[in-house]
Every structure is written in C-alpha cells, then in structure tokens.
Symmetry: C2
Subunit: 404 residues, 2 copies
C-alpha cells in the first residue's frame, strides 16, 4: 500500500456514518451467513457500476434504476442464490428485498440497492430472504464489517475487507471496502460484488467519477477464468460524516480521496484474484513497450486468460512459448523479432527467441505464490497490468460439482 | 457420415497418386515417430490455410510463400519441436527441411511445404531432422497412412485419419485425410495440422475454394481451450490421378467433391476435439434462432470456451445458468425472456427462466461421452454449431508439466 495511506480495521464501517450486519437466512445449505445489509446513517451520494452481461439478473436491473438518483441509503445482499434467469418473479423478489430493507430503515425502496450472488436459475425463497433482512436490520452496527463481508461470500475461502485513511490538508478521510469473488471473474465492467464506503463529503458526481476511474484501473484489470457473471456490481457510498465542504470532481481535495478509493479497490481486486477458485498463485502480468495502452491491455488479458499459460504457472513451468502464443493471438501489434519475456525476474525470451536461462533457478522462482510475468514488446510506450491466478485441479473440482 | 460417401481404409494415401511415411528421428524423448513426409507422385494443385497468430513460426512463413504458386509436391512435418520463436536460425532450419525433402524427391524446394509442431522456442536439432527426412523419403509408399499419421502426433492419444469415396456421374473420387491436435485448439484459421488428399482433378483455384469453405465450416468451428497455436496449417493436395477433365469451381463435379473434402475435414475436426487434452466428453454446442449466423457462431463459441461450462460438463452437471451466462457475455443479440436451453435432449430453461426437469434423468444423460447442448435464442434464423470438449483434471495435469 502506498505510504500516503494508513491502514485501519473495520472494513466498510471504518468510515464514520455507516452500519452493517450479516446473518444466516437459511439460503446456504451450510447454514453460514447469507444476508447482509450495509447502510449509511442517512441517504447519501452514491454510484454503482454493473455487469455488461446481456443476461443481467433482476437485482442488477433494479439497482441500476435505483442508483439513477445518485443517492442511496443502503445495499442489501443475499448469497447462495443469484436470482438470475428468474423472469418476472425474479424482479418481484428483488423489489421485495428492497422494500423489506427500506421498511426496516424507514426509507423509500428506491433508496435501497439490491445484490444477489450464487446459483443461477433457481427461484429465490423470498420469505426466508425477507425474514433474514429483518433479522439483519435489527443487528446493524458500526463495530466491524466482518459479519457482512462473510455474508456476501459464495465459494470465497476468506472474507475480503480493507480500510484506510488519507490525510488531506488537515482533514482525515476514511475509505472502507468489502468484496466477494471468486469464479466467473473477468473484466469488462464490475466483475464481482464490491462495496466501498467513505466518510468524505463527495458529491454524487464525484462518487461516479471516482468509482468509474477506480473500476477501470482495478476490477476491470483482473481475470480469474474469463467468464463474466450476470450479477456483478460495485457500489460506492459517501456518507460525508467527516464533515467539511462538499468535494466535487474539480475540488482540490478530490484527487487524494479518489486515490484512496482506487487503492481500496486495488486491494479488494488483489484479494479476489488471490482467492480465485482453486488458485495457488497470484500472477501479475505486465505488458510494456506496446504500441498503445489498449494494445498492452489486450495482450496482457490474452495471456491472463490463456488456459495453457495458467496451467503452466500451476506447474511452476517457465513456459514462455505460451506467453508468446497468447500475445500473438491477441490483436495487439507485435514485432516478432523484438518481443522479450521475463518470468519472475528471469529473462526467458529476448528478440523473439529463447534466451538461455537456469531452469533450476526458474523452477525455484516459480515455486513462489506470487509470480510476475513481464512482456516487453519493444515497439512503443503502452503499458498495462492484469492480475490473474493459475488454473489448478481444484478449479476443476470446485466447478465440476458446484451446483449439485 | 452422410450416405453419399463410402468409408475407406488408408488415410491420406487412399486416393491414387500419393505416398507417405513416418519415422523416428530422435526428436521425441519417447523415441516415437516424429518425421513424416506426404508426397504426390508429381507436383499437383494444392492449397493451404495458416494460423492467424501474429507470432507465426518460420515453417508457416515458408509454407505460405511456397504455396503461393498453387502447386506442391510434398509436405514434410516434424513433431516434438515447433521451430517457433527461433528467429533467423529457425527460418534457415525450415528451409533446410524443405531442401532435404525436395532433394530426396528430385524437385525444387519451392514445391515442398514444411510444418513443425511441439515445444515453442527450442532450436531445431536440424541434423537429426534432415537425417530423418532422408530415412522417411526412402520408406515412402502408398500402402497405408498410419505411420505418417503417428509421426505428426504430439499429445494426441490416437492417430487421426480417414478416407472416403464419392461417386459423381460414373466417376469415383477418393478423399483422404490425417490430422493432429490436441491442445491450443481454437478457431480463427487453420487450428492444428491437417492434411487432405484427393485424386480428383481439381484445379489450383478449386483446391483453394474447397479448402477455404471446408475450413470455415469445420476446423474453425472447434475449440479445445481457446488458445491458438503459432504453427497451425491445413493443406489440401489434388493429384488428379482419378483422371478426367479438370474440375474448376464452376464445374458441375465441383460441389460433390468439395462436399467430400468438407466431410473429411469435419471428421478430422471431430477426432481432434474427441482427443482434446484431458477430454472425457465431446460436446456439440448449437445456437439457433439467432439474429444472424455470426451471432449464433459467436454465442456458441462463447459457450464452448467457457471454463465454467466445460467443468460443469466434466462433472455431468446440467448447469444451464453457465450457458446463459456465456451467451450473455458474448456480443450476440439476445432477448433475455426468450432464451431456451436444452441439455442432452432435456429442456432446462425456457423463456429465460428455469424449466423443471428431472435431475436424475439429466445426470444419466450427461454421463454419456457425447453431449449435445442446444440454445434457441428465439429471435431469428441464425444457426451455428461448435464442437468442444470438457475441462478435466487431466487437462491441468498435461499442461502443468508438458515442457519439463
């Protein structure tokens, strides 16, 4: 984390002006928590980005409508059931979730965003969900974000939360966040559920600007398996409880707060990849020297999504040929005689051909659980980094019998 | 196979006018065959399609130059080493392979196409290869294609060959073929090595037309893992040994011969998918009722390439939600309330929502090793089919330690 930020405990409720809770409503067979509420003390400026999947689920459609006002009071989430491909009943159920949460908070349903994650195509057991929402509403507090972070999990192996503070001209602002992964993660948009809170007095416009920039640079730069969910959503809420003048995108205080929001998103994105289904290694793929940033991004994504590359990393194999193959199948401009590939600090390919390296040293370097792969195309200034994870037996096991 | 064709033995040498052989030159540690020659009795009309990967290997560049004349005498192939990312030396080695083969046949090197498959980025042990070519040239015969079909294999578990005949107005034409897979298979072009021979007197133009159409409809409609090799090539050679007038694209005899060539390509493509790395199931994904054929193709490919879908099939799970997700993330136009999904004959989703089905019956149907998945978008007439295979533990094992 950059030294301009200070790490804090508390997750999404670390910033002043937020409460949260997470309960078990019986949606998960395991009996684990599966309903979460995150609420501001009063309606506040907020923004959200959503999946671009054209089969987007009813809660996505409902939340997109509700966030149009630029204000929100709460987000209610259930895990264990995606409420996707559930037709008109699915929309009625999403509305019922918003209403149950709104009623418990004494606000209009349009001030509540709704998110669902889990199995696609099963009717939501709405009575259980609304009972869970009532339970959760009774437990809202500002002590700690863990119960909410747990309640939004599906195949995640650990809750993902973070908080930090940033000092700006004598004021201290806090930004908190929580997220869940971990399969079906692929750029193009919000690519998972993530919630970011801050007590900085951002305007609605500032929340939109900060979230869009942060998402582009963080959540849209990770990929677990190239699949894109029907339900993904990233939400930013700004309680303004830290006080002071409103911060618009052109305020001098906007940049440091936006940077803190981006840092929270980056850390959450890292945690999601770290916890990719079956992942044993976190892989940072950087393409530099590309003709443009778009080219660099496309080439990096092509590498990060290549099953052959991902299985090679799982096997601790410095198989740079697969990196070159993946760059070549992307639409990025390349000079085949210029490309250079560096695996975990070890140059394996230079001027487009193999570069003698110590296989033993490479195997040792690749045994680490964080691997950097750098490709230098040596034709321009474009650079982009994509985070991904390896493809393991465990990914196959998890996804071979997830539903049944 | 369509009833208009008769199945034959012999593979690529089933048509009159071809010889082949396959030998071991010591490129594979296993000592298995790794150099193959396929030759016509004399230079004949020929066509080829090549990988679109921008890191295409030297043999691809050389063969593209040599086929420009529309004529070829032979194709020489080595397996065990891709001669890719090997720079100027790689091009010299590819030229040496062409020359060695040409010398043994007494023709100009420009009449010889060259293909290599195997590990990327290792220098080709060219002395061994040219010695192998001399050995292979001494063994050329027209008895059977198996030794050549074996010599082009890499991770394939069985040689892939086929031959059939078609009767056209009193003439009988034979078409033969062999191919190798099996990882790094993804549409966009020639996506593997495949060689098709016929004794029909096709003109050069007719070989180009027939090969382009057949490739578009067969090899470009399969996907094992969405990765695209640097070395792929499909070659068609027409010896004309069956006699009779030359067949141009506008000849009445063109269509039935082209159909036979397409059938051979289709069967080879099926075998490649059947033998996809670690595959336990052959999956036929058909999208129909799309706004256009392009839309149908794109949606079918998105399904076929989805790791979540492929692992679900491996687990015999009728997880139609992942099918809908994959359709949604493609750029195909969809009406979320119209989509229908049929798994192995069992309707699982109708009007965009779950359709009650017998999970037990579905599990039994999905235990088969050939699975049909049909998606009807119900908005137009576009239809396309893509073949793929499941994603298994074995894929991870094979690719986790292929190089080392």
């Amino acid at each position: 984390m950059s030294s301009r930020f200070t790490s804090l405990e508390g997750g999404v409720v670390a910033p002043v002006g937020f409460v949260c809770s997470g309960v078990s409503a019986g949606l998960k067979k395991s009996g684990k928590r599966d309903v979460a509420i995150l609420a501001a003390q009063e309606a506040c400026p907020a923004a959200a980005v959503f999946t671009l999947n054209s089969m987007a689920a009813p809660p996505v459609h409902l939340s997109r409508a509700h966030i149009a006002s630029g204000m929100a009071r709460a987000v209610v989430t259930n895990s264990g059931n995606a409420n996707a491909c559930t037709g008109a009943q699915g929309m009625r159920d999403a509305e019922a979730m918003a209403r149950a949460c709104a009623d418990s908070l004494g606000v209009d349903a349009s001030m509540v965003l709704v998110a669902s994650t889990g199995v696609i195509g099963m009717p939501l057991p709405i009575e259980r969900v609304t009972a869970g929402i009532a339970d959760a509403a009774a437990l809202l507090d500002s002590a700690d974000g863990t119960s909410a972070a747990e309640a939004i999990m599906t195949t995640d192996t650990f809750p993902k939360q973070i908080a930090l503070s940033v000092d700006v001209d004598g004021s201290r602002y806090v930004v908190g966040g929580m997220a869940k992964g971990s399969g079906m993660i692929m750029p193009n948009m919000a690519t998972m559920l993530a919630y970011v809170t801050t007590d900085a007095p951002l305007t609605s416009e500032a929340t939109r600007a900060a979230l869009t920039t942060a998402t582009t640079r963080t959540f849209n730069r990770i990929s677990v398996d190239s699949d894109t969910s029907t339900n993904d959503m990233v939400v930013l809420m700004a309680s303004g409880a830290a006080g002071g003048d409103a911060i618009a995108p052109d305020s001098p205080r906007y940049e440091p707060v936006a940077a803190a929001i981006e840092e929270v998103c980056r850390e959450l994105a890292r945690m999601i990849v770290r916890d990719g289904e079956g992942a044993t290694k976190l892989i940072t793929v950087t393409v530099r020297g590309a003709a443009s940033e778009d080219d660099a991004h496309e080439a990096a994504l092509s590498i990060a999504n290549s099953p052959l590359f991902k299985t090679a990393i799982f096997g601790a194999d410095a198989n740079w040929g697969r990196v070159v193959m993946a760059v070549g199948k992307s639409r990025a401009k390349v000079d085949p005689d210029a490309i250079e590939v560096i695996f975990a600090g070890i140059t394996t390919c230079k001027h487009g051909t193999g570069f003698l390296f110590d296989e033993k040293a490479a195997a040792i370097a690749l045994a680490n659980d964080e691997i950097d792969v750098i490709v230098d195309l040596h034709i321009g200034e474009g650079q982009a980094t994509v985070l991904t994870c390896d493809l393991s037996y465990e990914y196959v096991r998890i996804n071979g019998d997830y539903r049944t």
